[in-house]
């Protein structure tokens, strides 16, 4: 039997949340930036070691202040994917503040932190920068090249199956 779980992509605008989703679901990528307003939802079935899970992924409009997210967008979520743009430090400068908010309001929901657009930066410099800011990221990805995108969602799925 296939289970379905809600996963929400969060982060500042322009960090590549929609691009990660399209790369994962449709295996497509566009250089053109199109703003997401409200919420755009896609789903994909993932098989992990023979078990099936349908990830229902909510790609919500970007914001720098997570306290402003509409509660209805986040209700029922099983996992959050916090995406930042590796080439724009402003998109991860407030990560601790936003994580505190998520941990307080959704203590049961796991959070995966993703540094996207790594194709635009020197990864050694980025890792040093993240270390200096004490940011514990889960993955560094690129929706453009596809680096780590499949792996990210598969691991999210695996964790959800484990918790189910």
């Amino acid at each position: 039997m296939s289970v379905s779980k809600k996963v929400v992509l969060l982060g500042h605008f322009g960090v590549g949340k929609s691009s990660l989703l399209r790369r994962f679901v449709e295996n497509t990528f566009s250089e053109n930036y199109t703003v997401t307003i409200g919420v755009h939802i896609m789903k994909k079935e993932v098989i992990v070691e023979g078990d099936r899970i349908t990830l229902v992924i909510w790609d919500v409009e970007g914001t720098d202040d997570f306290t402003k997210y509409r509660p209805s967008y986040l209700m029922g979520a099983s996992s959050f994917i916090y995406v930042f743009d590796a080439s724009r430090p402003v998109t991860y400068s407030d990560i601790k503040y936003n994580l505190d908010h998520l941990n307080e309001k959704f203590p049961e929901v796991s959070v995966h932190i993703i540094g996207n657009k790594v194709d635009l930066v020197d990864s050694d410099e980025l890792l040093e920068e993240l270390r200096s800011k004490d940011i514990q990221h889960s993955y560094l990805s690129s929706a453009k090249t596809g680096e780590n995108v499949e792996l990210l969602f598969k691991n999210v799925a695996a964790q959800l199956l484990e918790d189910a």
Partner: protein
């Protein structure tokens, strides 16, 4: 009638769907899109997976704003309101089509977000550029300082060597080494200036100065320099420029020397024409235009912009030497003085460099103030027969100690003691009498600044007042300011110019002696 109109309007904008707790469609009016009764609504769109969590939520009603859905190839935006009926185990959804409204919002947010992202990217690039520039400037400043210290020894010992018993050929060789070393000093100075300008640490200091004498001295120097190269030097300084102006004469001099040296370097026949003029005579400020024209090799049109970049030389074969910093400094200095450097040039015919400064006119056009700064000449002969002055040198580097010993041995009017750090300096002055202290700023155990602070706060008033001259390889304004604030009386940079050193020593000792007499009286 109104009811009918309302019904028609709502029919096109709102769809009502009833769904059970198995996500099956119980009822629908299909106003916006078609749903089959008893079908699984999650198959229509993944948004509807949310229904199961609506039953788990405490609230009966929820509202989902701006839900984006692709319906028959068209992007639609819906606000969806849900109402849970727990008894019937059903959810009623009111789906309102607000596509037109949200499409306008989308356009506005697209423009706003794009501009913010572009701003972030520009900021990030600027930050990176500043980090790189900061690194470069710090590197240049440190390297310059490190080069300056051994250069001090080279130039100092050359001065000592040329006063020994040497023949004509040896003197010529010394002069060649001296010229090369001085050239190196000027490159180091240029490097320091570039790093200061780019770090925004170079300040323009406008002061009253004798403009007439300033231009006369420049003209005298370059008349001789051009004669040496068998070139003609024509100088035109307008009579209507007042004698005393307000400006940064040191920086103006640096600009003009750079431009004149450039003309001299690249002109092999013909003339150099130096013009200074003003179109008007105002009571308080006048624009003064400086123009240098030569009949040199000129600059190809395509290089007219790049000549102002650091480390750029049009002549790539290195025939003319230099680091390619001069014009970059000149350009940036003129900009710091709210002016700009213009250049006109024809290859193989010559170049004209021109800039105009807005300069203040001093209300006092008399020469009296200058005489106040004149110091009495106190050469070797004048000191003959007089008692020797006792000088204490605080210096940790042996080669610098040796150089100073040689310089003082040649002078003969002083006795020199050496302390190898600031702590020793303080100990020495407490045990012996000294007329003046020469203090290196960078020393181990206790540096020159700390040692000076101890001396200036010493309980013995005579010790407190001993004149102190800072000797340092560091040329930054901060260091100069720090030495002044701690109470040092003069600041000399390495390589030390012996004549300036002894002039400064004499001036301060005489001033100190007069004060001591006043104190004792």
């Amino acid at each position: 009638m109104l009811d009918k109109l309302r019904e028609e309007y709502l029919k096109n904008t709102i769809q009502i769907v009833v769904i059970d707790n198995d996500n099956k469609v119980v009822a629908t009016d299909n106003s916006l899109f078609t749903l089959q009764a008893d079908s699984d609504i999650t198959e229509f769109h993944p948004f509807f997976y949310v229904i199961s969590s609506l039953f788990e939520d405490d609230k009966t009603e929820q509202k989902f704003y701006c839900v984006q859905m692709e319906i028959r190839g068209k992007t639609c935006f819906y606000d969806i309101r849900s109402r849970v009926d727990r008894k019937k185990k059903q959810v009623v959804l009111f789906i309102e089509d607000l596509s037109d409204h949200y499409k306008t919002v989308h356009q506005i947010k697209q423009v706003r977000n794009e501009s913010i992202i572009n701003f972030n990217i520009t900021q990030e690039l600027n930050h990176e550029l500043n980090v790189q520039r900061g690194f470069k400037n710090k590197f240049l400043a440190n390297v310059s300082h490190e080069i300056r210290t051994p250069l001090n020894s080279i130039l100092g010992f050359l001065s000592v060597l040329e006063n020994t018993d040497i023949d004509r050929e040896q003197l010529d060789l010394i002069n060649i080494i001296k010229d090369s070393s001085k050239n190196l000093v000027s490159i180091v100075d240029d490097l320091l200036d570039i790093s200061k300008i780019e770090a925004g640490k170079l300040e323009i200091k406008n002061k009253r100065f004798n403009f007439k004498k300033f231009t006369e001295s420049l003209i005298t120097t370059y008349r001789l320099r051009t004669q040496e190269k068998r070139l003609e030097f024509v100088a035109d300084v307008s009579d209507n420029i007042p004698s005393f102006l307000i400006g940064d004469h040191l920086r103006i001099n640096q600009i003009l020397v750079n431009l004149l040296e450039n003309s001299l370097k690249f002109t092999h026949q013909g003339k150099i024409h130096f013009r200074v003029f003003t179109p008007s005579r105002n009571m308080r400020r006048i624009p003064v235009t400086f123009e240098i024209t030569d009949t040199g090799i000129g600059i190809p049109n395509k290089h007219l912009e790049s000549i102002f970049e650091s480390f750029t030389q049009v002549e790539k074969r290195g025939l003319f030497g230099g680091a390619g910093l001069g014009l970059s400094i000149v350009k940036q200095l003129t900009q710091l003085m709210d002016s700009d450097l213009e250049v006109e040039s024809v290859e193989n015919e010559g170049s004209t460099f021109r800039f105009t400064l807005s300069m203040g006119i001093s209300h006092d056009q008399k020469d009296s103030k200058d005489s106040r700064f004149r110091t009495k000449k106190t050469g070797k002969n004048q000191r003959n027969g007089a008692k020797k002055y006792r000088i204490l040198l605080g210096e940790d580097i042996e080669v610098n100690q040796l150089l100073m010993m040689k310089l003082f041995a040649d002078e003969g009017s002083y006795s020199l003691d050496i302390a190898k750090n600031g702590e020793k300096v303080v100990q020495f002055i407490e045990n012996y009498h000294y007329d003046l202290i020469l203090m290196d700023l960078t020393m181990p155990v206790m540096d020159g600044i700390d040692a000076t602070a101890r001396i200036r706060n010493h309980p013995n008033r005579k010790i407190q007042k001993i004149p102190i001259i800072a000797l340092t390889g560091r040329t930054s304004e901060e260091e100069r300011q720090a030495s002044k604030e701690v109470g040092m009386n003069a600041y000399l940079t390495k390589p030390i110019d012996p004549s300036l050193l002894f002039k400064t020593i004499d001036r301060l000792i005489h001033r100190y002696k007069n004060k001591r007499t006043e104190l004792e009286a």
